[in-house]
Symmetry: C2
Subunit: 564 residues, 2 copies
């Protein structure tokens, strides 16, 4: 209550404000005006705008435009390959002051303990991390994960201050076919927010999915798909990750009319892309460059995101809102000169003052030792299902190729870019090894492997040489998971990810350097994909059409069946 | 959970829908498109749109446009002068399917029992009545009300299904000056919605008021006032009541850009105006006639209202939303051919099937018997504070007139339209009688009196003849409150309001007839105001500038002081 009294007193100017941002011009997201004036701050809250204030601490933001802190409406922090604290240090300086995350990567490896880790971390980061509860661990029944979360496992995880309902409900077939466990989870969060995930769903199937109470969605990859979702009242989150890049396809839909109902998200973005291009700041720049009115881009990045997720305490530079403020060079440039998160100026000092939380999920890679022959493909006819990669998308094509059987095996054929893909169970549960074919890597030699392998995070491996594949997979067991590139039995590059096989203990700068080495090594093997590791990781996710592979075999996602 | 399963199954078309609206064209409030197609309904919820559905009951809405049910974002149902059930019958057929009410009129007379009455009634009306808890009973310390509600009185009233936070915080001086009781109430609803009321507040005072966590406001009477509130993140509710009519002043602000952040409300509207012009339907027609784009008008009437108050379950014709649907002739006409409220078709049959709740607050008028001499004005100087009426507004002017003292009294002067105004305490507490002057009625003879007298609801009386004033005031004691017009000792017209002295037991049609008689009688006395009774009622409300009168005397609202 004293806080309330102070806020009012400082807003009125009866008490001197804690801080004031002086000299800037505020972008008003309701009226679209640019209005000069002080911003007065009491503790973590804005208490005055468009007026003159005295303050204990005056921060000069002359020449900048002040916009509300950006809100990433859907992401898996694990995909940044660093801990939440390093993610904070990497992304907050770009203006992202709220991240609505789904910790389902770590939850697939270590269950509730992983969600607790994110909840605990959220109490100490500069950015506000909202931790949704993972709805689909594992994503389906067609994979072996390290843990599973039922409705009764989720119930006790509610109530944390970072809570924001149920995370992306990926098992859309389970929803529209009324699977009892899905119904139990939906019922548990009936009065809260339930986030969606329903790629390519339309017509009555989409009606049914939305009627289940699911209000937000980020899997639209074309303007017609997004338009149908918008028309039906779903808030569409435009995604620009490291693999799935939907901004160009959806940008034409984002205008002043629709901007209150559209948001931005990154889903899965690695620190290389963040370093090279940016995060939500990059999306804003791109949108404006492509012709989106600035007010629409900035609304989608903050106010509309706050509205979509019921975060009434943020999204504008206005009294009573969290002091999440970005001072940028220009609306088009969107380069942050200063970022304030809940009233704290984001810089090396404030990062250093955070209390860190010890990482969890160590020694999680419990795979069997494999050998070259494990990667042979058992089959008795030449017609073969092949995963066709679409670069920059997590959707794949379901291809059919004739591949001759030689010596009881179908061998990779680099002349047709048909290479072996395998998934090796690594949670110490059953040692499953599945094999298949993928087209689109351009790999000419060696192997690459990863424990980032959505969402079960087994070992995914592609190669043209079975011995190299075995070296790669076994190496991941030695380094507690990560990425590795092997040729002729030698490790060309690697990055250890000892936190659940998903996150590094290094700084984001160091991770970036390792990723550059890994990319270079992959290119040396002939790989033509810009982001081969995340692209590989998504080939294992059986809730994104059309053809995927898990440790249990090749999955036809449209049929929702293991087919080989 | 069965409901959830049914909703999904019916949305998908796996089960036959409960109802379908067939042949209409939906106005999509996100994209602005008009899209033909069925609307499938399961129970109280829309489960399918833009598709073909089979249903147990097919309702033909050919040739109509379907828009979401309208949401009145702020009103006192008591001002309709009928019970909530009659209000429902009067207004729901016009398309208003949600009414966010503040029961502070009845609460000023009988306290928590009045709020319970509205909460109970809300369970049985066709429209969804949301009952906010009254923040300011009494509105200030400068009046005698029948009851008072402290923070500890409000606490146990929370938790009812109709709850929607704290109602208009009228004591804005108490907020910005940090009155402890105001702080306690704000703290109690810190995580919920707090509605505002701050006429003419601006600059740092407005910043302080908003910083207190108050997010919506309906007292802006000019475009610049509304613009400042919008810029500062307040949702502006455009009001068109029977007295305060702000639509014409604020209409220029409502456009496609601002429409997601503006709403409509009626505050206080009597059944005469509802019958003659309409309710929110009238506002929509007027807005469009004045040039507001239809999408902006319909958003303000539904989707933006739902968003502003966190009603995520309504505001669009889309899957998962309440089946609140209005089939209208045209966007410009906005005449409802059919109204559906939570899946029930609104008609005589469904009204007849409601379970009514017995009215409360009978025999509440406990005023002393008064005589002519009680209306004399004691004063010792000619300079006189006079309330200047602004027709069509509840704001008044603070005038200064010289009025000669004759025989120890200052007498009404009809040549200058200076007539006596008095407030007589009627809750049986102290028998206070205050007297003063008002200009603007045009009264030439007799007296009019009312127990609708905001918000304390004492007896307000204006007259040029003290004996007639006494007859009028005493008559109100006999009929349990209401309105009365007296000339030469005779009752020319009256309407009894036995429910707390505020609401009739008659049908809204009968009340309308009485009001016509009362208006005609008032005109016969010379009254030139279109709506003399509600205009009179607001002269007693000391939270609206500039000069008002309560049972304790004339109040300078800017100074927040009793001045005579």
């Amino acid at each position: 209550m004293n806080t309330l009294v102070n806020r009012i007193a400082q807003g009125r100017g009866d008490e001197i404000a804690d801080k004031v941002l002086r000299g800037g011009t505020i972008l008003d997201l309701i009226t679209g005006e640019l209005i000069a004036g002080d911003v007065a701050i009491c503790g973590d809250t804005i208490v005055g705008v468009f007026d003159d204030y005295e303050a204990r601490e005056v921060i000069d933001v002359s020449g900048t435009i002040l916009v509300p802190g950006f809100i990433d409406t859907h992401l898996h922090i694990e995909s940044s390959l660093v801990t939440p604290f390093e993610f904070d240090r990497c992304v907050t300086p770009r203006g992202v002051t709220t991240a609505i995350c789904d910790p389902h990567e770590i939850a697939n490896v270590i269950g509730s303990a992983g969600i607790h880790y994110f909840q605990n971390a959220s109490e100490h980061t500069l950015m506000d991390i909202k931790v949704q509860l993972s709805s689909c661990v594992p994503s389906t029944h067609m994979e072996t994960a390290g843990a599973s979360l039922s409705a009764s496992d989720l119930a006790p995880l509610r109530g944390h201050a970072s809570g924001l309902g149920l995370a992306e409900f990926m098992n859309y077939p389970g929803v529209i076919h009324r699977d009892p466990e899905c119904m139990a989870k939906l019922a548990l969060f009936e009065n809260g927010h339930i986030d969606g995930h329903c790629p390519l769903l339309s017509g009555r199937d989409l009606n049914a999915y939305i009627a289940a109470g699911i209000r937000t969605e980020h899997e639209a990859t074309s303007a017609p798909e997004a338009l149908e979702k918008l028309r039906k009242g779903m808030r569409v989150l435009i995604r620009e990750g490291s693999v799935s890049k939907d901004l160009h396809a959806l940008q034409p839909l984002l205008n002043e009319r629709t901007s209150p109902y559209m948001c931005l998200c990154t889903d899965d973005r690695n620190p290389l892309d963040i370093g090279e291009y940016g995060h939500l700041d990059h999306m804003i720049r791109e949108l404006i460059r492509l012709g989106t009115p600035p007010i629409a881009a900035y609304r989608a990045a903050s106010l509309s995101a706050a509205e979509a997720f019921g975060l009434k305490d943020r999204g504008m530079i206005a009294p009573g809102k969290r002091a999440d403020i970005v001072a940028i060079d220009s609306l088009e440039g969107c380069h942050a000169h200063l970022v304030m998160a809940a009233g704290t100026v984001v810089n090396d000092t404030s990062f250093a003052q955070r209390r860190l939380v010890d990482p969890v999920g160590r020694h999680s890679v419990q795979a069997p030792k494999v050998q070259a022959s494990d990667f042979r493909t058992r089959a008795n006819r030449a017609e073969t299902d092949v995963i066709g990669i679409r670069e920059g998308q997590i959707l794949t094509d379901h291809l059919h190729e004739n591949i001759a059987i030689e010596d009881g095996d179908k061998r990779p054929d680099i002349s047709r870019d048909l290479v072996r893909i395998s998934v090796v169970e690594r949670h110490g549960k059953n040692g499953n090894i599945a094999t298949g074919f993928v087209k689109g890597f351009g790999l000419k030699a060696g192997a690459i492997a990863s424990t980032v392998c959505h969402d079960h995070h087994n070992i995914a491996c592609v190669g043209v040489n079975y011995a190299d594949m075995a070296v790669a997979a076994n190496r991941l067991g030695e380094i507690e998971g990560g990425f590795v590139v092997v040729q002729d039995g030698k490790i060309l590059a690697e990055l250890a990810l000892p936190v659940a096989g998903l996150m590094s203990l290094l700084s984001f700068e160091e991770v970036r350097d390792h990723l550059l080495d890994l990319r270079a090594a992959a290119r040396q093997l002939g790989v033509t994909l810009e982001e081969p590791f995340l692209q590989l990781a998504f080939l294992a996710l059986p809730v994104i059409p059309a053809l995927k592979i898990t440790d249990r075999g090749m999955v036809d996602v449209h049929k929702f069946e293991i087919i080989s």
